[in-house]
């Protein structure tokens, strides 16, 4: 074992750019009268999202994986538009673009839908040094047609699986029957292994109007077929942001939380308590709004051309 490595992994040049980026966020939102807020990093409740795991803390309580629930409680209490850049924590997420602790830029806009919020994301990123022109916007369905060559809303799980194999992509080992039969499992693989890496090679690209089965906390629009009013932003093949035209229906939100808890229990995952305070706030009334969470570290990587997330974080998990 060598001596403990105490040095930062990011250069001071990068750390200065990081400080400048956070400052740009502050100026941008101040100009637009969006209020900067701070919410607890540790909460009685946690996300029950199937694929996001929270750190439990000693003595009860969970570290936030996003400030979303607390910010929505502020919105329901009448805050008007709000933003913050805060540390968030996600267990077991570590890799080239992942560190278990990272900085999330998150903001909410009463009166916006997901499309108008995409305009504002674009304006912010231009201000941060992203290209002025050439931004792309694809519907989820179209991004499959263009980059994968088929309509994802017409393909069942078996077809999605077969096509992935034909594409030469090795499917994960040890799949359960549920996973094999679940179209969303295969759509996720398509997005993360095939389509996502091709998106936004020069300029950022949005994907919007997701399958209703991947609504998360977005409202579902009664199209043919119904779609979730949700978007993601990609740049250099890396997912940077996820936004919703927010679900405001308390009963529907509770139903989704409970379904996710059941899934977690059935799959042997930890089952944290869902955020009952959020449900109460939705019952009191969340103004119609759109919100987005954007990975600030990843944004900085793309602006500076850094290949790994540790290039933009002073002390990543291995040195924290």
């Amino acid at each position: 074992m060598t001596a403990t490595n105490w040095k930062p992994t990011a250069s001071f040049e990068v750390l200065r750019a990081r400080a400048a980026l956070l400052n740009t966020f502050r100026i941008f939102f101040a100009e637009r009268d969006v209020l900067e807020v701070s919410t607890p990093l540790r909460s009685r409740y946690a996300t029950v999202d199937r694929h996001i795991d929270s750190f439990a803390t000693d003595g009860g309580g969970w570290l936030q994986t996003s400030p979303e629930f607390a910010m929505k409680r502020l919105l329901a209490a009448g805050s008007g538009p709000i933003w913050q850049a805060a540390p968030v924590f996600r267990r077991d997420e570590q890799g080239r673009d992942h560190n278990p602790e990272f900085t999330m830029l998150e903001w909410y806009r009463p009166g916006f839908d997901h499309l108008t919020l995409m305009d504002e994301v674009e304006a912010l990123l231009r201000r941060c040094g992203a290209p002025e022109f050439g931004w792309q916007r694809y519907r989820y369905r179209d991004v499959f047609v263009i980059f994968a060559g088929f309509d994802p809303f017409k393909a069942d799980a078996a077809e999605l699986r077969r096509r992935l194999g034909e594409r030469g992509i090795a499917e994960p080992e040890a799949l359960s029957d549920d996973e094999i039969a679940n179209p969303d499992f295969w759509l996720d693989l398509w997005m993360s292994l095939v389509i996502g890496p091709q998106l936004g090679p020069q300029t950022p690209a949005f994907v919007y109007d997701f399958p209703a089965s991947q609504a998360a906390l977005a409202r579902v629009r009664d199209d043919e077929p119904p779609v979730a009013e949700r978007f993601e932003l990609f740049w250099h093949g890396v997912e940077l942001a996820n936004g919703f035209h927010e679900l405001t229906d308390a009963a529907e939100q509770q139903r989704r939380f409970e379904a996710d808890q059941q899934w977690r229990a059935a799959n042997g995952r930890a089952v944290p308590p869902y955020d009952a305070a959020l449900i109460a706030a939705l019952q009191a009334g969340l103004p119609p709004c759109a919100g987005v969470a954007l990975g600030a570290d990843r944004l900085l990587m793309q602006i500076l051309g850094c290949a790994r997330i540790e290039d933009v974080i002073a002390f990543p998990a291995d040195r924290a």
Partner: protein, 189 residues
């Protein structure tokens, strides 16, 4: 047997798949914000050297392979097995032909070599990167010819055959790169 989860698999981690030991070369974690995370692992089969790619769902695991690299001293070859000794414990192990593969032709005895042990049996023996060996047989040297760049085969004391410059003579000691099998230099007398 211990198992190793995807987030513990680093470059160099040894795992057991279908009864064969593999070394992890690269581990790429991918996760859509709201979806299933996967790890794409580039792995090398330690028996065949073949490199392949496999994908796991994040959090899944493989069995750990009891594989370790250790420096050992080469003692002797009895015609079937090559015997090595751990210089600290003095324990001896025997390597068969497969494990010796490339290394056998460069070893004459007493060298310290890197041995990969699997369940305490040598899996691969690596010759030192360079060795100094005496030429036992080659055509007579062309005196003074140090410029034309021609080569000729020469047999070394271990039986290995390498190409040497024309001016090199029988009985001389030369330095050879075992990774490429190339002559490097004469060893000064």
């Amino acid at each position: 047997m211990a198992s190793i989860s995807t987030n513990e698999m680093k470059s160099g981690t040894k795992v057991l798949i279908d009864g064969d030991p593999y070394a992890v070369i690269d581990n790429e974690y991918r996760k859509p914000g709201k979806g299933q995370a996967t790890n794409t692992l580039k792995i090398r089969n330690l028996k065949t050297g073949r490199v392949l790619e496999k994908t796991l769902k994040s959090g899944d695991s493989w069995e750990a392979a009891d594989v370790e690299d250790t420096d050992m001293q080469y003692l002797y070859n009895d015609g079937e097995f090559w015997t090595f000794m751990d210089p600290t414990s003095f324990e001896q192990v025997q390597a068969g032909k497969e494990a010796m593969a490339e290394a056998a032709q460069w070893l004459k005895g007493e060298e310290t070599v890197r041995v990969t042990l699997w369940n305490e049996v040598p899996l691969i023996v690596y010759a030192p990167n360079t060795v100094e060996l005496t030429i036992t047989e080659t055509d007579p040297g062309l005196r003074g010819d140090t410029a034309t760049g021609g080569t000729k085969p020469a047999t070394l004391e271990t039986g290995a055959v390498v190409k040497v410059p024309l001016f090199i003579n029988e009985g001389e000691k030369i330095k050879v790169d075992t990774r490429t099998g190339e002559y490097l230099s004469r060893v000064g007398k």
